[in-house]
Symmetry: C2
Subunit: 220 residues, 2 copies
C-alpha cells in the first residue's frame, strides 16, 4: 500500500476518536498547541489519561515542553473551533506559537504553567506521570494525572456523567474527518440475563413508549 493510503485506512480502523488540543509552554514562556486524536481514559482513581506521540512527529515542541515542565493541558475540541484545531497540525517553525497562527486564545491561570485554550469548554490540567516507550513502533505513550477540571458545572449530571455532547465536543475518524454526534441513549449498568434500559442524560429511564430523550441541551 502507498504510505498515505495506508495511513488513512489504518487510522480509521480503531473507530471514533477523541479530539483534543494539548497546550504546553517552554522555559522561555513560549506557548505551543497541537491537536491529538489518541487521548484515552486510563483510570478514574487516580484520574489518569494517556496519549500517543511519535518522537519524530510534527509536534516535537509538545514533547520537549512536557519533559521540561512536567505539565500540560488537555482541551476538548468543539464545533466552534474544529477547523482551527486541525490547523495546529501544520509544521510551524519553532518560534511560532500555534495559538497565534490559528487564532485561538491562550488562557494562563494562576498556579499553572501551561496555557489552556480559552475557546474550549472542557479544559484539563495534567501533570506528567510517565513516558512509556512503545518499542514495537518507536512511539511514546504519555501518561498524565488530571489535577484540575475547568468545565461548566451544569453539564455534570446528578450521577457524575458529563454531557460532552451538550458541550458540542466533536469526534474524529481517520486522520482528518470531524463529526458531530447525536446521543442514542445512555444504557443502564449491565447485569446477566437482565435487559438493559435506555437512560436519559440524568440517569432516569427513558419511557418505553418511545418518548424522546428528555435531556437539556445547550448547557455549555
Amino acid at each position: 500500500m502507498e504510505q498515505r493510503y495506508r495511513a488513512n485506512l489504518v487510522n480509521s480502523l480503531s473507530g471514533f476518536k477523541s479530539a483534543n488540543l494539548i497546550g504546553t509552554m517552554d522555559s522561555n514562556g513560549k506557548t505551543n498547541l497541537a491537536i491529538f486524536s489518541s487521548v484515552v481514559h486510563l483510570g478514574a482513581s487516580p484520574a489518569l489519561i494517556g496519549f500517543v506521540m511519535r518522537p519524530d512527529n510534527v509536534p516535537r515542541d509538545t514533547l520537549k515542553n512536557i519533559k521540561d515542565s512536567g505539565a500540560y493541558t488537555i482541551n476538548q475540541v468543539n464545533r466552534s473551533i474544529w477547523q482551527k484545531a486541525h490547523q495546529t497540525s501544520a509544521r510551524y517553525d519553532e518560534n511560532v506559537s500555534e495559538f497565534d497562527a490559528v487564532s485561538l486564545t491562550p488562557l494562563l491561570r494562576s498556579g499553572f504553567v501551561p496555557p489552556f485554550v480559552k475557546e474550549s469548554n472542557l479544559q484539563l490540567a495534567v501533570e506528567l506521570v510517565e513516558i512509556m516507550p512503545i518499542t514495537a513502533n518507536n512511539t511514546l505513550f504519555i501518561i498524565g494525572k488530571i489535577t484540575d477540571l475547568f468545565l461548566p458545572e451544569n453539564a455534570i449530571s446528578v450521577d457524575g456523567y458529563l454531557d460532552i455532547e451538550a458541550c458540542q465536543s466533536v469526534a474524529i475518524s481517520g486522520l482528518d474527518s470531524y463529526h458531530s454526534t447525536k446521543r442514542l441513549a445512555r444504557l443502564s449498568y449491565a447485569k446477566p440475563f437482565k435487559e438493559v434500559e435506555q437512560l436519559n442524560v440524568d440517569n432516569s429511564v427513558i419511557c418505553s413508549n418511545g418518548e424522546e430523550d428528555l435531556c437539556t441541551y445547550g448547557k455549555c
Copy 2:
C-alpha cells in the same frame, strides 16, 4: 467524590471513544466477547492498535484467552448492535459465552482461532505483540498487530479513508452513553499559513458556496 460519580465523570473527560467488541477463544473452544471503549490507534506501519484493561476487571476471560492464544478480534460496534454490545459487560459466569447470552453470532474463519462478530461491519484479526503494565494504576496496555481486515471494500475511499460513519459505527462517551455521528467534513492536510479546505469523503474539495457533503452514505 463517591466512587461511581467519580467513574462517570472522569470517564467523560477524554472525549469521544471508540466502541469495539473484542472476541477471544479459550483452549477448550469456548468463545468470549467483551466491549471496550479504550481501543486506540498506535501506528499505521506496522498496523498497531492498543487497548486498556484492568487485571481485576470484568472481562478476565478476555485477558486469559489473549495470553493463551496470542490472538483476538476487534469488531466495531454499529447502530444495529450497540445494546447487545453493552450487555456483554455484564458479569456472566465463566461457562457462559457472551455471544449466546446477548444473541450475537460468532463467526469462525479458517486460519483464525478467535471468533469474529458476524453482525459487525468492520472486523479486525489481531495478533498480540506486547502486554505493557501501567504501574501508575495497575492496568495493562494490550498492544496488537492488525493482520487482516474484513470490511466492505466500497466503504474505502480513493485515498484510503474508510467511511466508518457510513458503516454506522457508534461512539461512546463516559461509561455508558452511545452516540451516532454526522460528518462535519474532512479537512485538507494542514500547512502553515494556508487555510484548510473542507473535503468530501472522497477527498474532493467541498464547494465554497456551502453545498452539502456529496459523499454516498449507506455503503455498508
